[in-house]
Symmetry: C2
Subunit: 233 residues, 2 copies
């Protein structure tokens, strides 16, 4: 009774060979065999572990253990560890809503994404999953493709103004840095300051990139002449 995983509903809570509980066992109909349920549970556990410990720092047995299942199932369902990694890695369309948002709402959208709970279930940063797993070159390439499509192309097209692609990419950099700083490095002020205060400086940085200063050859840049400025509410 104590060993058998299928006898009770709390079987998910077992496992966790390393340091931390997995927390994200997803929708798996308890005490009932379900291939799709196990698949999604494995995906969730894999996303968590790959994000937190990286590709090399995560073993297939760890992932399977989180779900309370034998490691062999990973190979039945996904073929290989690398295939599972490729399946769960990537930005996962979290930037898609941004593209359907009116341009004026972009600062708010970014602030909401950055200031919200780190991620549901204490999930690690999705970009970290790739950053922590070099050289999974394929994953890095796909991450670059994701960023390029969303920011350099689609968002840039909607921003307009000079250097729209560069500004969009710097916006992504500003987001990435703030997000990593907040969720991983966790310096004291960023962790303790009231959200409204952080958001104010955050928004100021976003505005700078959304409302570019006009091109200036001799170095003296002034603000807000060209480029349709937005979100000055």
């Amino acid at each position: 009774m104590a060993e058998g995983p299928w006898t009770t509903e709390v079987r998910y809570v077992t496992g966790a060979h390393k340091s931390e509980a997995p927390k994200a066992e997803a929708c798996r109909p308890a005490h009932k065999r379900s291939a799709s349920g196990t698949r999604t549970a494995l995906r969730a556990a894999a996303a968590f572990r790959f994000g937190k410990y990286g590709y090399e720092g995560t073993s297939v047995r760890d992932i399977a253990g989180d779900v309370g299942v034998d490691a062999a199932l990973v190979y039945r369902y996904f073929g290989s560890k690398e295939a599972l990694f490729n399946d769960v890695s990537g930005t996962g369309k979290i930037f898609e809503p941004l593209l359907n948002e009116p341009v004026e709402a972009i600062p708010d959208w970014f602030c909401a994404l950055l200031m919200g709970p780190p991620r549901e279930g204490d999930f690690p940063h999705p970009v970290l999953s790739v950053l922590r797993s070099s050289g999974r070159d394929e994953a890095v390439a796909r991450l670059r493709a994701d960023f390029t499509e969303v920011f350099s192309q689609r968002l840039a097209a909607r921003l307009g103004g000079p250097d729209a692609d560069l500004r969009a990419e710097l916006l992504a950099a500003w987001m990435l840095g703030t997000s990593l700083m907040r969720s991983e490095i966790r310096p004291p002020a960023l962790a303790s300051a009231p959200d409204a205060t952080v958001e104010r400086y955050l928004r100021a940085g976003i505005d700078v990139l959304l409302c570019p200063a006009p091109e200036d050859t001799d170095g003296t840049a002034r603000a807000g002449d060209e480029g349709h400025c937005i979100g000055d509410n």
Copy 2:
């Protein structure tokens, strides 16, 4: 002759069990036994591999192979793989010069650091060495301590104005994001845009954090009333 590593000067170029040449064999007096030389060469190879592949993605044999030396020497000189990692990980005082710089020169200093060659010898980002090696909790803690001391404390004290610590940390975030974006994700515009253009937007973001808008309770923030603005040349 072909196998013996000490017979010629180019022995460093051998090794490199994985994908990429190490490039950083540092100062090791060729064809002469030197403990200190081997130590520093091991340190350099370790810093490179840990930064590029992370802690778990790097084997002791890889590091020793880069230097052209047996893996056992790593244990003689550093005790363990983890001790070697702790020895070479960290920001390595690259932010120290910032603290000796006059405040007005900070934007220039940041721009120079960010826009310069990624790192000498194609070296990976020092923060990545830690970010890619979770959960080396000790290294993460030291990285946080580094950032806290340099930015949240010493730099913040010199910045002055409201939320100086928070602004300094956000400055670090802005740097981190831009740096990671440039060196790892490498989106197209950021890679191809002329340095002067990138620098202009970069500086605008820095200025926003160095010259804070005054605290404002009802949300309407104006620029440049309080807080000694600098670097407006």
